[in-house]
Symmetry: C2
Amino acid sequence: VAGKIDIVPLRGLPAIRPGDDLAAFIVRALRRRRLRLREDDVLVVCQKVVSKAEGRVVRLGDVRPGARARAFAERYGKDPAVVELALREAREVLRMCDGHLITATGAGWVCANSGIDRSNQNAADEVTLLPLDADASARRLRRRIRLLTGVAPAVVISDTFGRPWRLGQVDVAIGVAGMVALESWQGRRDWAGRRLEHTELAVADQVAAAAGLVAGKDAGVPAVLVRGLQPRRGRGGAAALVRPRAEDLFR
Amino acid sequence: VAGKIDIVPLRGLPAIRPGDDLAAFIVRALRRRRLRLREDDVLVVCQKVVSKAEGRVVRLGDVRPGARARAFAERYGKDPAVVELALREAREVLRMCDGHLITATGAGWVCANSGIDRSNQNAADEVTLLPLDADASARRLRRRIRLLTGVAPAVVISDTFGRPWRLGQVDVAIGVAGMVALESWQGRRDWAGRRLEHTELAVADQVAAAAGLVAGKDAGVPAVLVRGLQPRRGRGGAAALVRPRAEDLFR
């Protein structure tokens, strides 16, 4: 475990559009703050700007809602185009009742409305969809940052999800590159030599939540530098955080 | 949203025993690091040391397991005394299958084994139970810290919980004093003037998760200073984070 950790908000990125070089904007924001990247830094980037840069943007006027989406939207006062998109993005619908639509996305993330996001868009009727493969997005961002700076920090792509049992939303990791997302403590022992029972820590989710403390969604902080964690290097991505359906007691 | 946030581990607390003045130990650890408390700091304290100081410690040898606990423990190779305690601490059993025992505690926290903790205990057959009212524990700690230092930071009591749908554990808040645990964004608007759809942020859970990054459980870091967040002042405690049973889609 490292010493002190710093959570540094990166401000002043422009409105991101499809095809933009997001990594270059982040590198510029770091330079403005006179921060020199280190290999053991973690850059946390909000899903919304990643989706925009990747063109995962849809105009609601272009969507033709089907009967199921229309019926649900009408009953609960929702936008039928948003419901339609959420159903299309879902590989499984967990709950569709009382105005709630909880799905598992293609990548396996369980969240409301398949992660479709209406706030802080570039146009009033635009929404973002989650990146198709946010682990690949994180790897691409990391490669591009290395190309621009010579340094390859870990990259975490975060999104804001609700949870069952607890009120309020927290930021979690949906894409990870250059660090271990799920740290195994198998075999570690406590101070009495007793084997630890809790054997897996969702480090990438805790990094995302920490970044969420400075990345309030109306504050224009689409990226956050986490320094001092010195994360464990490794592959596997955020996919390691998806609980396999067969092991899930709450579906 | 504040600027940079610092997450500072506080080390070197002694093994905590029932009746110990935990606040005094934390204040001493702060002084050793030459940290002067501020009113807008947050002190995150692990449940385990709070439970120990409050005497929420049980020797497994003193527990007589009932038939239900014995049957479950035998079938899945668990300790029957731990299962018995978990059942006694539960106000509701959500799942009891495949070796998993997921309960809601008296305070409403949904977690494995009612939060009973076997690691890092002072004796091999001891376990801690969750504080009966961790919000009250947080308020007591805060009052005592104010008495010792003249300063009343916010206090968060954290524990390490698993989640459905996602693998790995994260730290969450089970007790809060001196700050708003669940921040409402009702009425706030995004940069386009659009009303935000996500209206509640579980700030105290994000603070706990951030502290969890430095408070690895084998590292002897029972308390963490979070500086720079400048949390919103208010009452309500961590109880505000309990999702009412009737609104929960996943029980």
